[in-house]
């Protein structure tokens, strides 16, 4: 499958964001917010006009504020620089440091204006958490213990931010699709689902259709194909 240059760049940049985010101990929801800010920004703007790594760094810093896990601008600048320039010595307190710091601070205002200050997003995380807790009770306890369903689902959710899936679909639909895919990966069915008239996921989101879920899953699979086509 052929991928656009944009989606390859975006994949790499989000991978960079996740690496830097982990070093900054940024939790999963703020990290998801950072990725959405990044994707939204480049949905409206061209990668030719703005440096994606500056926008990504700014998105990390801004997401920390939005999600009440505020990071120090100094740490963000240092960690992002180090993550991006692995072979270079760490950043020193120099004019360059101050210039980078200033550029992220100004860029934050710029991104806020671009987003019209709408930087709160409804992520699939809380939906997925609820659904997982819910279906856990449908399984025999020993069966559930055997399967890393929650871990797989959480990993899928994290990975889906490498593409713009979360911009295209409703958060509860994404959560259901991820759960659906997780169960398929582990080759299990929701217990007793064949005895029921409605599919199990209709309990969670009434307005989702099997077509919706399949679209989301196919987008998810594309992200993994994209990964193999992007140089490490």
């Amino acid at each position: 499958m052929a991928f656009t240059t944009e989606s390859r760049v975006n994949f790499r940049v989000v991978r960079f964001m996740y690496e830097a985010g982990q070093r900054l101990r940024l939790e999963s929801v703020p990290l998801a917010t950072a990725a959405v800010i990044y994707h939204k920004f480049f949905k409206e703007n061209s990668l030719h006009d703005y440096d994606p790594y500056t926008i990504a760094t700014t998105a990390i810093y801004l997401a920390g504020k939005v999600e009440e896990q505020q990071l120090k601008l100094r740490d963000v600048v240092n960690v992002c620089y180090r993550t991006l320039h692995k072979s270079k010595p760490p950043l020193e307190m120099s004019d360059k440091y101050w210039a980078l710091r200033d550029s992220v601070a100004s860029c934050e205002l710029f991104v806020l204006r671009m987003m019209n200050f709408k930087v709160v997003f409804d992520h699939p995380h809380r939906y997925l958490l609820h659904y997982l807790k819910f279906i856990k009770d449908w399984f025999e306890p020993y069966r559930w213990e055997d399967l890393p369903i929650a871990r797989t689902a959480w990993a899928l959710l994290r990975d889906c931010y490498h593409g713009s899936v979360t911009l295209k679909y409703k958060p509860d639909h994404i959560a259901v699709a991820i759960l659906y895919m997780t169960l398929q990966c582990h080759g299990v069915d929701v217990p007793y689902h064949y005895q029921s008239d409605t599919p199990w996921w209709k309990v969670f989101t009434e307005d989702a259709t099997i077509g919706n879920l399949k679209d989301i899953m196919s987008d998810l699979i594309d992200i993994y194909d994209l990964e193999t086509s992007v140089q490490p």
């Binding site: 810093y61 360059k96 205002l109």
Partner: protein, 396 residues
């Protein structure tokens, strides 16, 4: 940032060019922000507020002629970028849409140019409300009857119920932050100190700052250093404001935090383990010399101003020392005060007699410590000298 000479070095892009920008034909000033409009669309009319948060102006949309309030975002501490307090206020107001919460219309900015070192100024644009409660109460010509007081309190509690059920704490309840439109609709305003709260996770108490809430409205738990607080802190302020509806001036005008605790003890009785079983968890409780042997005199003291028994009872329950026993907004709304005659009545008729805007900012300053309420059995509570002629700004 490549486009825009004002942004300075990027250095992030692949490391190939530590400084980018400046080699583009675009100019930063010429950038268009399709979603964030220029503040020039509003015409500033008058300054109506000033505080630590910044300046507030009354303004008019040049096109639609709609009146708005413009609140400038202070960017003093710009070392850490856009202030997190302003971001919280914006986030919270975007989330909260309710009749009794002030409506954020949009956010505007000035154009960045060489004159402001390419730093835009941001303004929060709110619907315009004609009065604030502090302004109304300091004007002796404004008289609230019991039904109207009930309406004010009912709307105030409705607003608090709404924000608390959305897991938001206001953290700066005071009469000046309660806006009232000329139609008598009350709006909670100034969410500059507000934040989201969560229920304490097992073994992990929340650590919020306790340097919040204007001193005169600050509840005892904050004064004792609580950092794991919740909605009761706003309810205390609600109680103080309710009393003010009759006394017309803040009821406890402390000069220092310790003095405030003394005033609270004199009104609500000594702070002891008997009335507040968990109070000894605060270090300050042991360290401070708090008044001992004080009897609780909330009803007794306020009786001189408040004749209604239900009102006194509600006040007593809002001004409860132990936050876990303090009335919440839901129970307060169910209190008999709101369900007995005279029933809450519309404010618009009374307000229609007043053609000028009344804001605390436009009224003479209320100096702390002037005629504080405690000690005095028979001393009248008054707002510091007041001259209604000073409210010169005409609204209509």
């Amino acid at each position: 940032m490549q486009r825009g000479g004002g942004e300075g070095a990027s250095g992030y892009s692949g490391g190939a060019h530590p400084t980018s920008g400046g080699h583009s034909s675009y100019r930063y000033e010429d950038l268009e922000f399709p979603f964030c409009e220029d503040s020039g669309k509003y015409e500033k009319l008058a300054k109506i507020g000033q505080g630590t948060f910044g300046e507030v102006f009354k303004a008019r949309d040049r096109k639609t002629k709609r009146l708005v309030a413009m609140k400038k975002v202070l960017m003093e501490n710009e070392k850490e970028g856009f202030p997190i307090t302003a971001l919280r206020e914006i986030k919270i107001l975007q989330l909260l849409r309710h009749e009794n919460v002030v409506d954020l219309i949009e956010i505007c900015r000035t154009k960045a140019s060489q004159y402001n070192r390419f730093k835009s100024t941001f303004f929060l644009i709110f619907e315009f409300c004609e009065h604030d409660l502090a302004g109304l109460l300091s004007n002796a010509n404004v008289k609230f009857n019991l039904g109207e007081i009930k309406k004010v309190m009912q709307q105030l509690l409705n607003g608090l119920y709404f924000i608390h059920s959305n897991k938001i704490l206001h953290r700066d309840m005071k009469a000046a932050n309660i806006l009232i439109t000329k139609h008598g609709v009350l709006k909670l305003a100034d969410f500059g100190l507000a934040r989201a709260f969560s229920v304490q996770k097992a073994g992990q108490p929340n650590k919020y700052t306790n340097r919040v809430v204007t001193l005169w409205y600050r509840p005892p738990e904050l004064l004792l250093g609580e950092r794991n607080y919740g909605p009761p802190i706003d309810m205390w302020g609600g109680g103080c404001i309710m009393a003010e509806m009759w006394t017309r001036a803040p009821i406890m005008q402390g000069k220092t935090e310790q003095n405030q605790l003394q005033l609270i003890s004199q009104l609500c009785g000594s702070i002891t383990k008997e009335v507040w079983p968990t109070v000894d968890k605060f270090d300050l409780f042991a360290q401070l010399e708090l008044p001992q042997g004080q009897k609780r005199k909330v009803k007794e003291r306020l009786k001189a101003y408040v004749k209604d028994q239900y009102a006194l009872d509600l006040l007593d329950k809002l001004l409860t020392l132990d936050p876990s026993k303090r009335l919440d907004s839901d129970s307060a709304l169910n209190h008999d005060f709101f369900w007995t005659d005279p029933m809450p009545s519309d404010l618009s008729e009374m307000l229609s007699q007043h053609k000028t805007s009344m804001f605390e900012f436009l009224a003479p300053p209320r100096r702390p410590g002037q005629r504080p309420m405690p000690h005095a059995q028979n001393q009248n509570i008054q707002r510091p000298t007041h001259n209604p002629d000073l409210h010169v700004e005409r609204v209509y």
